[in-house]
Symmetry: C2
Subunit: 380 residues, 2 copies
Amino acid sequence: MTHQPDLAVIGGGQLARMMQPPAVGLGLRLRLLAEGPDVSAAQVIPDQVVGDHTSIDDLRTAVADAPVVTFDHEHVPPEHLRTLAAEGHACRPGPEALLYAQDKGEMRVRLSLLGIPCPLFEVLGRDSDDLDDLVDDMHDFGYPAVVKTTRGGYDGKGVWVVRGPEDLAEPFASGRELLAEELVDFRRELSVLVARRPNGDTVTYPVVESRQKDGVCFEVIAPAPDLAPDLAAEARRIATTIATELDVTGVLAVELYETTDGRILVNELAMRPHNTGHWSIDGAFTSQFENHVRAVLDLPLGPADPRQPWSVMVNVLGGSVTDLPAARDAALEADPTVHVHLYGKPVKPGRKVGHVTATGDDLDDVLGRARAAAALLTDG
Amino acid sequence: MTHQPDLAVIGGGQLARMMQPPAVGLGLRLRLLAEGPDVSAAQVIPDQVVGDHTSIDDLRTAVADAPVVTFDHEHVPPEHLRTLAAEGHACRPGPEALLYAQDKGEMRVRLSLLGIPCPLFEVLGRDSDDLDDLVDDMHDFGYPAVVKTTRGGYDGKGVWVVRGPEDLAEPFASGRELLAEELVDFRRELSVLVARRPNGDTVTYPVVESRQKDGVCFEVIAPAPDLAPDLAAEARRIATTIATELDVTGVLAVELYETTDGRILVNELAMRPHNTGHWSIDGAFTSQFENHVRAVLDLPLGPADPRQPWSVMVNVLGGSVTDLPAARDAALEADPTVHVHLYGKPVKPGRKVGHVTATGDDLDDVLGRARAAAALLTDG
């Protein structure tokens, strides 16, 4: 495999995997840095290097002769990204933007300076290794609150609801910098995706409702039902403002709260294709994966319009079903109108191993079909 | 790459390439027998063997531990298919069915026995190496006529219009068995695709109009405009009858004539995804490539319904444009609503190197957009 790649992708999970179908269509060649020889994306991208994304040597091998580099996750050390950039590879998103997806404290400070509505917050106990300092800071901030590690948390890990000083031992034991946030009284969670090119062009996907359990998304409805038009417009404006002001390239996902008193607040940012955009593969004119690839390569973006009035995506989280291919076939037999996606990953309890999308004119029907198919893939 | 493949694909052209995106989605692993290390499909399917599809040893290496085998083309020798079948690999389509896509004489005889409407025909000069025998046979058949090699022709190659004995030297010089057919007075060419599982389930795509020049398809309109409902039903009935009676598995393409006197006649058969079905990637609920893969693996088939009222596919045939990626970007910049597909093949004059699909509500608009994009990719 000696042909020059158009794009190096760091990380071999399902997000990298789902970049391959649009790359095939557009005639683009991907090179993968994979954690192992048979991880999800390594099963489908021929030009691959097996290595560690925290090793600059492995990164250099993977990106050799690739003009542009993008990511399956946000865990590449920023100093390595700066090294790759200095050596002539365009990192998209770049380290300056990625910082705000990697560090929730930096994100909160920056968004607040931009006037973006966020929960009340305070970065806690920086440079402190004393639990008493944390207790003092939280006394000033007030209870109840959410305490998060500023770095490294995902899917509900590294997040605690604290109702008094007695709940601080566990966050303190993480040994990481912590962020306190007000416990937002929210009606539901929303998400907006924006794809942005280096030239500044953006396309914005419809605002979706993201339903979560224990910090893990299990279901997405596109568009968010019964969302007031002014809130939808506000959510889209927030997302495009963040993408532009932070100079994000590729897909930016902005997770939001719709509060019970009718406000929109930013919860988290991700700078890559996002679980709340998987519906777009089957439900939008151009999927988030295609627009991510187009955006990071500075190609014209495709329309983000829905193909059908409603799309529902339900995650397949590892359950009692161990033979996913057989369950896929049973789900397609039961309802040939659903789209089943499998990631080629072994089943572990709660692990995201696939997703199902249904589309149509009637939300109740679409929701029922997507849930029924996902149930067959989870617990049979 | 040691994991067992779900499906071996023989031949590394664009048809095999376009099977990979749906395989990625469904969590299926393909193994490829490729003509070379960087042919179209070899760029996108990691598990690959480089070899010759006429070598039983290379075929055996490629299909090792693959339960099912399918094809990018119809050129694998039937005796090799029988060998692979005897060794436990399900060849789909099987050699008994594939014969009728490989040999136009056998096809005409069989379809006539099934009562399927075909042009008048006669298999010529079998076992003869004397031009005079051919001249005598054609005298009896009558002029003008079409003379074709029964095997090995494609895209207008191996087909001659003969108006008198003086036109027979060239077909005779092919050294191949020849078939004479009446010169059909047709209004237009149509095509119907059927995907069929081993269990007998079928789905049938809408009848499309296929526009050809010098025997090469350049444009497909889905569905065929202004087609009388009874002719559409007849075309679909013919296609499903052929798929069933010939025990075809996978996609069967039936190319048809709509005659000036309002009849449907079968022109040719192909037993694989077909150029006249490329519109389905962007225009149908389930693409022909996804349904081919599902069908040969005996998985439930997906709906073949159109997503939009009109889809137009225009082939990109190699022209004066040599930098296809730059032309792709220009085409997407000019019209972000078109879908550009590139096959990763070097440009040669007239070679199929990609295609463009546009979809929408207004046929003139859709046709204009698809043609404009394809023009940018052909001659700039």
